[in-house]
Amino acid sequence: MIKPKTYIYITFFLLATTSIIYSCRKPQTLDDSELDERMSGGDCTVFDESAGAFGNVIGGLTDEDQRVHDVGDGFFSKTFVPFSTNSPAVGLGPLFNQLSCARCHINEGRGTVPASGQPLQSMFFKLSVPGVDAYGAPLPVQGYGIQLQDKSIAGVNPEGTMQISYSYLSEKLADGTDIQLRQPIYQFDNLYTTMPANVLYSPRIARPNFGMGLIEAISEESILRNADPNDANGDGISGKVNYVYDYITRQGNCIGRIGWKAAVPNIKNQVAKALNEDIGITTSIFPVEYETTQQGGKIELPDSIVKALTFYMKTLAVPARRNVKDETVKLGQKLFKASGCVKCHVDKHETATDVSFKPLSGQIIRPYSDFLLHDMGPAIADGRPEFDASGYEWRTPPLWGIGLNQRVNGNTNLLHDGRARNYIEAIMWHGGEAQTAKDNFKKLTKTERDALVKFLESL
């Protein structure tokens, strides 16, 4: 006869072993912290590793919002033509750098450096002469404006071209590994008129478009939290806001967030500037083209389309990280932090609460940027100030999605002029405030360097 108490023990024992046994059948899942690591854009993250990874819409849009996004998407890809052609996208040029947004932002991603002797396709050169205009912006060059437009409609001469060649130098890592770097050499060519001797120019590769809505939505406090313009904490890294002019609200002292030098405060300014300067399209925001005879004498693209293009860019989702559980990736992430890279490539931000547009509101995002200006040293200085950014300063570029560049754009060229052909070359070009981080990287073993690169590839 079994005692009742014994039944209780047996029952308890069997229940305990059952729970242990059944636990072995549970599916493997990521714990919360690892899941967060993958969600680079918070709820605005998309799990897409294909060549179209940068062109996905965020979730949570209403039908009407989706429709506006789609209209913007259509115009982003649309080829602009001159007047007298029946198309919704008219007013091209007469001077321009490309025929559509999508030609520079290939697959909504980065542009490319042209092969030797080939024309610029997704890269252009900003121009100015020393001094600032009434808004604090660079002074345009007489006869050329603010940008070298190397293409034109038929019957009009382009402003000129830029030839790019390279010299090579090497840098040794602590273990003796030799890293070959290419230094670009620029030469104006086929200029239609004299270029002033004091011209300042700055090469710019087209940047990816995704995640811009989130960048715009980061609260000013979140950006200012990382600013340390006088290096009060003495870590050798300042971090400075570029206070710029908003051509829509007609106000100065706005925090610049967009572009290689953070010279643009928000997406709508960026869209209007790019339409005007890159494609030669006038809008109500920029109703006049530099140094050209206005075609048609009217605003070429209505506000509704500018709004749709802006909304399209605002609502492009961020691709999720990959391989976050990989031990090598985890090691690389630790080394990225230990080397000091995260001091500028700040991993985490929170977007502001915005009850008027919830999809971007209150998101924890991981752009790996502080969106501040840093002196990056003379090696990659362009010598062309832009608002508060000096000729040595660049905005920390966000690194999210960087691991998909090869897939999306067919190359891994990095930095504002695409001189770096891979991650390690890009790190080797760091100087100025980033010198210590670069030196720390140089001391890593090959295994550690490979791990750090693998981490970058996971972004």
């Binding site: 079994i2 046994i21 294909s50 007298s84 052609t85 396709q121 038929a154 090869q406 897939r407 067919g410």
Partner: protein, 355 residues
């Protein structure tokens, strides 16, 4: 005490198989299936399609050369027929617009739209010599299939041989030569002597490839296929239909738009079935393996879309005004096909292909 031991042992005997026992069904070797798909895509789809396109472009150039030398209506008609044939291949190749055609910006130089009439006039009125280099540097709205279409079919598709001036014929020939060059480059980009993109696809999942995993490459192929289906429904048909504007039609001069669209979907089907130059293993093999009803649904919907597009007898530019319910139905069919692929095929790949 022994009773307790028996009870515990009996319990373990009952439950232990449920913990570790594998399903009785034989697991298919997914690695072999995915390797076959990635090996066959370049061999049976990308390379033969692009080789055909290159050869058709040579044929088009030769035909235009004949027409320029002997400008008869018969030779113009022959050129128009070769243009249709070239177009048939090009539109199928749009079923896989990824890799060099995308990253090297080759697509716009072949198929940009709309053409720029005023600029074409300006080019023709200039004294510029139509060298290969000159055409190469022209804006993409002034070269490729559609300016050639405009020249050989004319507005309304009523072109007569005698209407073309010597200058126009020189331009036409130079455009055909440029198209020949670019389509040859597209093919070479997949060849070992060129960019060898075939190797990138075939070696997906190894360090030799841009695709870190086979899943990446399969998703690339699937998304490109879905992309063209979406473009046909939403943009190529959807935009002119919504705007009720026939001037937004892509191939208005030749009246070839419905066939263009059908060939786009045929191109997507080629990719899915891996069937163009012979048969290979396509994405179809994956869905056939794991979800036969999905495979059947996809093939039926693709066939239905192609049949629907081919059934139109009224030109697209007219149908968007006179057959609006039918055109709307076509858009729905295409959107529905896209949704099936987006919502069911992509998750299937993501679920079953692990690396």
């Amino acid at each position: 005490m022994n009773k307790y031991i028996y009870i515990v042992l009996l319990y373990f005997i009952i439950i232990s198989p449920s913990c570790h026992k594998k399903p009785a069904v034989v697991e298919p070797d997914i690695n072999i299936v995915t390797a076959n798909i990635l090996n066959d895509f370049p061999t049976h789809i990308a390379e033969p399609t692009l080789l055909d396109l290159s050869n058709k472009s040579i044929e088009l150039y030769n035909s235009i050369q004949t027409f320029v030398t002997n400008s008869t209506d018969a030779n113009l008609l022959a050129t128009q027929q070769v243009w249709y044939a070239s177009r048939k291949i090009w539109e199928q190749s749009e079923g896989f617009l990824f890799g060099p055609v995308s990253s090297k910006g080759l697509d716009p130089a072949i198929d940009d739209w709309p053409i720029s009439y005023t600029e074409i006039d300006s080019v023709l009125n200039s004294s510029n010599v139509f060298t290969a280099n000159y055409i190469q540097n022209l804006n993409s709205t002034l070269k490729g299939f559609h300016p050639i279409e405009y020249m050989i079919f004319g507005l309304g598709g009523t072109r007569k041989a005698s209407e073309l001036t010597t200058r126009q014929k020189d331009y036409l020939l130079a455009l055909a030569e440029n198209l020949k060059t670019i389509t040859a480059q597209m093919y070479t980009e997949w060849q070992p002597q060129g960019g060898n993109y075939s190797l990138q696809v075939k070696t997906a999942g190894t360090s030799a490839s841009v695709y870190k995993t086979r899943k990446d490459a399969l998703l690339e192929i699937a998304n490109a296929m879905i992309g063209i289906i979406g473009e046909v429904g939403e943009a190529k048909i959807g935009e002119p239909y919504t705007a009720m504007d026939s001037m937004l039609e892509e191939s208005p001069f030749s009246g070839n738009s419905w066939k263009d669209f059908a060939m786009n979907i045929q191109g997507a089907k080629n990719v899915y079935m891996c069937s163009y130059s012979g048969n290979g293993s396509g994405l179809h093999a994956l869905s056939d393996l794991y979800n036969k009803s999905l495979d059947l649904k996809i093939t039926q919907k693709m066939d239905a879309a192609i049949n629907n597009l081919n059934a139109y007898t009224t030109k697209f530019g007219k149908a968007i005004y006179t057959q609006r319910p039918a055109v709307e139905s076509t858009v729905q069919i295409l959107n529905d096909l896209k949704k099936t692929l987006d919502d069911e095929l992509i998750p299937l790949i993501q679920t079953y292909v692990k690396n």
